[in-house]
Symmetry: C2
Subunit: 210 residues, 2 copies
DNA sequence: TCAAATTTGTTGCAATTGCAACATATTTTT
DNA sequence: AAAAATATGTTGCAATTGCAACAAATTTGA
């Protein structure tokens, strides 16, 4: 599935009209800022127009999980959550620009213009892409050992790439929270993988050797 | 988010037109039948009109994972997978009726009628619901212990319910594959939860005691 | 630029989990 | 209704993982 953005195939003038029509809001966030969810309007969906963010959750046990890594054009929002317990938040990992749209307006509002159809189609596509990346996340999490989680994560990171090398997009501490495993145990296993010649590491650059 | 079906708000006569127009196919499957994915047309999305199915994957280690449990109105399909390795399949767990639609036609085709818009809106909603249930799945899988996985799974099963009792929708063997844990270890932990008074069990009916 | 904070690497030890191998119970098939 | 196949319950033991507690390296920010 090709890359796409919310406003693909829609002219700037029309974009402004659509934003007005759907009563959408563009908001900027600094790095580390909380792009709050679980708030006022339960039907907002957010779209990352620029920057990146993490969806994180703290367990009662004190463990942090990185539920999702959001990049440009990724969708997120309360609409997608059945959990009302307020323990999940979205934190900007770089300066962000986020577009919030009322999900109900998107659906209920009768479409009048070709551009409204186009917008809905684009969002349909972005939702499908979100599902793809959630499937990848589930694929990794269902792996039964730290080793398999790591190798599967590496393999996914290399999908659709020719090269056997890639760069981990977060710190090792964050990677452990993303894989939902203990950091020190992860470090230990990475060392084993290196010693056994499965991978080679240079900082955050990892090369699969098989 | 309320329940919805693909054809909500569309009259039968129009449904038949839409099916023809989008070149969609309705196919029936017996229990245990393979509702093949990873096949011919890479852009099909499937919609369970009747019945239920499991998306399963076998690891090279021999472990089976139930990736997803599909019920009436759930979507699935190759479009949502980046994994091209053919180790994932969809198996009917009861007699099924499945509608296959070409995802590209849905998007590329210019909308002419109110009904086409309605169809796309419905699918938009179903996609959002799919994301909700995938988020729940991820929530469970990120839990760090068997105990927490179980309790979280129970808690999610009771969300939006008044009662504290529910029925596990599959065998304990399947539940273990769904939680991605060892069956015997799961049985052991369930016994502990029972002994410590957290839950009570009657066959597949589980009651949370707190 | 120096100090403070955070991240990374490492290890012994304890707790949890997986594995194997059963017996028993239940379900399905003939 | 008997036999076969599957599912469930149980346990000892081994392997993996988590935890705690550091030192060293790196990054942040005052």
């Amino acid at each position: 599935m090709e890359k796409i953005t919310v406003f693909d195939g829609i002219e700037q003038k029309e974009i402004d009209n659509l934003i007005k029509r759907f009563d959408a809001k563009k908001i900027s966030f600094n790095k580390e800022a909380t792009i709050a969810i679980n708030i006022n309007n339960i039907n907002l969906i957010g779209i990352i127009l620029e920057g990146s963010a993490n969806v994180i959750r703290y367990e009662y046990s004190g463990n942090r999980s990185i539920v999702e890594k959001l990049n440009k054009n990724d969708l997120f929002g309360e609409v997608f959550t059945s959990d009302r317990s307020n323990d999940t938040s979205v934190i900007a990992t770089s300066p962000c620009e986020v577009l919030f749209i009322d999900y109900n307006k998107l659906i209920v509002d009768n479409k009048f213009s070709e551009y409204q159809n186009k917008l809905v189609d684009n969002i349909l596509k972005l939702l499908a892409l979100k599902i793809v990346s959630m499937n990848e996340r589930i694929e990794v999490l269902t792996k039964r050992s730290i080793r398999d989680k790591l190798l599967n994560y590496f393999e996914i990171s290399l999908r659709d790439k020719v090269s056997k090398t890639f760069t981990i997009p977060f710190s090792f501490t964050d990677l452990a929270d993303y894989l939902s495993i203990d950091r020190s145990a992860m470090t230990r296993e990475i060392k084993h993988l290196k010693d056994e010649g499965f991978i080679s590491i240079n900082g955050k650059r990892i090369t699969l050797m098989y």
